[in-house]
Symmetry: C3
Subunit: 177 residues, 3 copies
Amino acid sequence: MAKTIFITGGARSGKSRFAEELAQQFGAPLCYLATAQALDDEMTERVKRHRLRRGDAWQTIEEPLHLSHALARCDGTGKAVLVDCITLWLSNLLFHYEERDEDAEACIMEDVRRLTATLREMRTPVIVVSNEVGQGIVPENRLARRFRDIAGQTNQLLAAMADEVYVAISGIPLKLK
Amino acid sequence: MAKTIFITGGARSGKSRFAEELAQQFGAPLCYLATAQALDDEMTERVKRHRLRRGDAWQTIEEPLHLSHALARCDGTGKAVLVDCITLWLSNLLFHYEERDEDAEACIMEDVRRLTATLREMRTPVIVVSNEVGQGIVPENRLARRFRDIAGQTNQLLAAMADEVYVAISGIPLKLK
Amino acid sequence: MAKTIFITGGARSGKSRFAEELAQQFGAPLCYLATAQALDDEMTERVKRHRLRRGDAWQTIEEPLHLSHALARCDGTGKAVLVDCITLWLSNLLFHYEERDEDAEACIMEDVRRLTATLREMRTPVIVVSNEVGQGIVPENRLARRFRDIAGQTNQLLAAMADEVYVAISGIPLKLK
């Protein structure tokens, strides 16, 4: 199994930039696995900015839902894969399962287990970016509370299996493991 | 005075699990002092899950408001006491005093001082679990802002008197003191 | 260039108190550069409490918007300057530019660059206090999301240029740099 590196942090904490720097240390070419869906102008703009920043060494693949499959397909195609980010993937899954009236939490945790299984079998190192979302006041919105629970549980599972774990605070990475 | 260990972290950051592991290192029997009130299905479910996870070594006591008294009654009855969690206790107190039209902040900070005094006199080690609630956007709701202030001040007082302090991030405890 | 120390943390995390302790190690007199505008009772009360705590060694200057100019005017007038806090300054700027229908984000980031330029030229050491606001659930309010982005970017720029960086958690400072 190749190395898994897990990076978490708040919004605009510099986690994506730090993840890109770590990935570049593995050499080129690199695979960028984006979970963002550019559904509105705000997100389209952000996706474009990030892509410009990364430059030519990167191949970008967009996959909002089937992350394990996409990750497996990236295996062996470059020096490292960067998954950015888990929190948007979980959010995409939550809306996907909610729309289909399925037990979203159970389905998502099953998808997360599939992801950790895939990560364990990768021959290419993977850098996984996630977000801290549970350090504010308890949200009044029940869906937001469920999302916060799912995101926290997922972060715990990924950090537990990762070889290295960092939290970015004000742009500065702090190594936790 | 026996050791006080203070553990903070965001929602679903693995702080309760880490607290239970620390407590078990003191041996059995152990006392679990729960501040949660199972007022709705969401909370009942969570309380049940946590109790199942802990298993037979633990005696569970539920006390939503009079935490110092309950803690003093636990003294000497086991190898360690786990208080989970301070944030729910503060939330219970806030609603309790608000309903009675009392100066909630003053009453609560008096209760917190009573708690730290009780902690200083315990012969049994106590592990106290709390939450980080102040790292999001300023809440629009005034009561939420007051709660955030009370929770932060209480965390400071408990961390200052504790012998060891940890923050859990994505399931990984980081020692602060 | 004199030393720049950057301190971040959540609400009521003990960051102002720690910043004051650090400042006092430089000796007296000290300059306190407050960005708070006491527009309501809640804030007036807080400003008054903080001022009482600081005591006589401090000269207080209030400047909600033109922080770089105020900072430059403080240069050389004391042993250290404490700026408290960046997040309120950014919030003041956001409302200021929004009211004038200007491109708030661009204007603010220009002000932030001016601030870092001023910090680089200071002969007096400066301690800058900011806030972590991006570790909760994504705010539903678009202005709050923009503010969160601006605050995170600003924290990154200030932490990158600072000689020392700390995050306060439950009153305990953790050195990041």
